[in-house]
């Protein structure tokens, strides 16, 4: 019997993109459904009553929520192709640690850059964001991917932020390349993978939308 896989998502979501990348890496066919977050569908509210957020993966009618939990689920169910997490428990723990770090130390500083007016909070966001990226660049070292020779879990967790780099740089008035050249090389390497290039949203569209929303809400 064929698997039924549905993804509730929004095109610009950093978290939703992670799931798209993971599904593409595994070659899984699925139905993509774009959610309007200002008008959430009954299906979303039914499948994620606790958070009412995307992404939600619905596999044979059963929902899984929270992007990294979904990615791990995908890796465990479709385990015969393109493993994302390492097989060694210690390496797995390290991968989980860095994905957790990315969630904790990049998203909120990034939001400060984009959505706060010029001032201390924005600068603090910028500083933390750059520091986090530099740390991750150090973790990457000379490896082609965070997963080593192969694209893996941490790569999935981080690469989706790349589609938002142009917005962060434009609004934050800084260059990520200048601070983290090796990380940019890594990002470009990841973008050569079809699973990534087809899953990530257009950085210019993202930036235009952020600028439009900033103007709408009077953020200087």
């Amino acid at each position: 019997m064929a698997d039924e896989v549905i993804l509730l998502d929004t095109d610009f979501s950093i978290f939703g993109m992670r799931v798209r990348v993971a599904l593409a890496e595994k070659g899984i066919e699925y139905e993509y459904r774009e959610e309007d977050l200002a008008n959430k569908s009954p299906l979303l509210l039914e499948m994620n009553p606790v958070h009412k957020k995307i992404p939600v993966l619905i596999h044979n009618k059963k929902p899984i929520c929270e992007s990294l939990i979904i990615v791990q689920y995908i890796d465990e169910v479709w385990k015969d192709k393109s493993p994302l997490l390492p097989s060694d428990p210690y390496q797995r723990a390290q991968s989980r640690f860095w994905a957790d770090f990315i969630d904790k130390k990049m998203y909120m500083p990034g939001r400060k850059i984009l959505w706060t007016p010029k001032g201390e909070e924005k600068e603090a966001g910028k500083k933390e964001f750059i520091e986090s990226l530099k740390l991750l660049e150090g973790v990457l070292g000379e490896k082609p991917y965070f997963g080593g020779e192969d694209f893996g879990y941490v790569d999935v967790a981080l690469i989706t932020f790349y589609s938002w780099f142009y917005a962060y740089e434009t609004i934050g008035e800084f260059s990520i390349e200048q601070h983290c050249p090796k990380l940019m090389e890594w990002a470009k390497r990841c973008m050569e993978r079809e699973s990534v290039s087809k899953s990530l949203a257009d950085p210019h569209k993202i930036c235009d939308t952020v600028l439009m929303l900033r103007k709408k809400h009077g953020v200087e």
């Binding site: 899984i64 689920y73 210690y90 723990a93 989980r96 957790d100």
Partner: protein, 224 residues
């Protein structure tokens, strides 16, 4: 030299979770108490990123973050399973741990420690969130089913610590009337053999919480 070491803090629910997991698996370990108001070179060496406890050292290699450590313990040692085997059940377990830790704990804490309107708002928020947890435990003895599992181990703040703070501060949030199933779980939980020996004494915890709320207190305080 001990192959397994745990850097922890006696009053920390995160630290105690890891101890519970180690004991469930029958792993022998050396426990190292950390003074969080004066962090040791050992802690700063093995958890330079977050500088927090618990940190597990296995053959000298560090693992940080309690939920990550617990999964590592489950994967490394034989013994009763902490996470379910089925991928969907595993995803659900991880979901509830994340929900409890990232969403419930802060408003629950603030409901007891923040004055005035902030405390009231936090109490309302916590009350709503706990309804989801109440629903989840409804037809089960433990979150893990017949036996304690990842969610039970990780919900120790709700299971024990919160009751002490709630009583000390005279807040009525987690009551039998409003959360009969969750309170029944708590009773079973704190009397469970692997849990009850891994809880800090109530009187000592009460003293710690009292100290947190004293003006001019300058020791370690959890960031909320």
């Amino acid at each position: 030299m001990a192959e397994v070491k745990l850097i922890g803090a006696w009053f920390s629910p995160f630290s105690r979770r890891v101890e519970m997991a180690l004991k469930l698996k029958g792993v022998e370990y050396e426990y190292i108490e950390e003074d969080l108001s004066n962090k040791s070179p050992l802690l700063l060496k093995y958890n330079p990123i977050h500088k927090k406890v618990p940190v597990l050292l296995h053959n000298g290699k560090p693992i940080a973050e309690s939920s990550i450590i617990i999964e590592y313990i489950d994967e490394t040692w034989e013994g009763p399973s902490i996470l379910p085997k089925d991928p969907y059940e595993r995803a659900m377990a991880r979901f509830w741990v994340k929900f409890i830790d990232e969403k419930c704990t802060v408003p629950m804490w603030k409901a007891c420690s923040s004055p005035g309107e902030e405390g009231e708002k936090a109490k309302e928020e916590a009350a709503q969130l706990l309804k989801f947890v109440e629903e989840e435990i409804k037809d089960k003895k433990f979150f893990g089913g017949d036996n304690i599992g990842l969610v039970d181990i990780s919900a120790n703040f709700i299971g024990y610590w919160f009751g002490i703070i709630q009583e000390l501060m005279g807040v009525e949030l987690l009551t039998k009337e409003k959360y009969p199933n969750l309170c029944e779980w708590i009773d079973g939980y704190i009397n469970h053999s692997f849990v009850k020996d891994n809880l800090p004494p109530k009187d000592k915890m009460t003293e710690v919480f009292k100290a947190f709320t004293q003006p001019g207190y300058s020791g370690y305080k959890p960031k909320v």
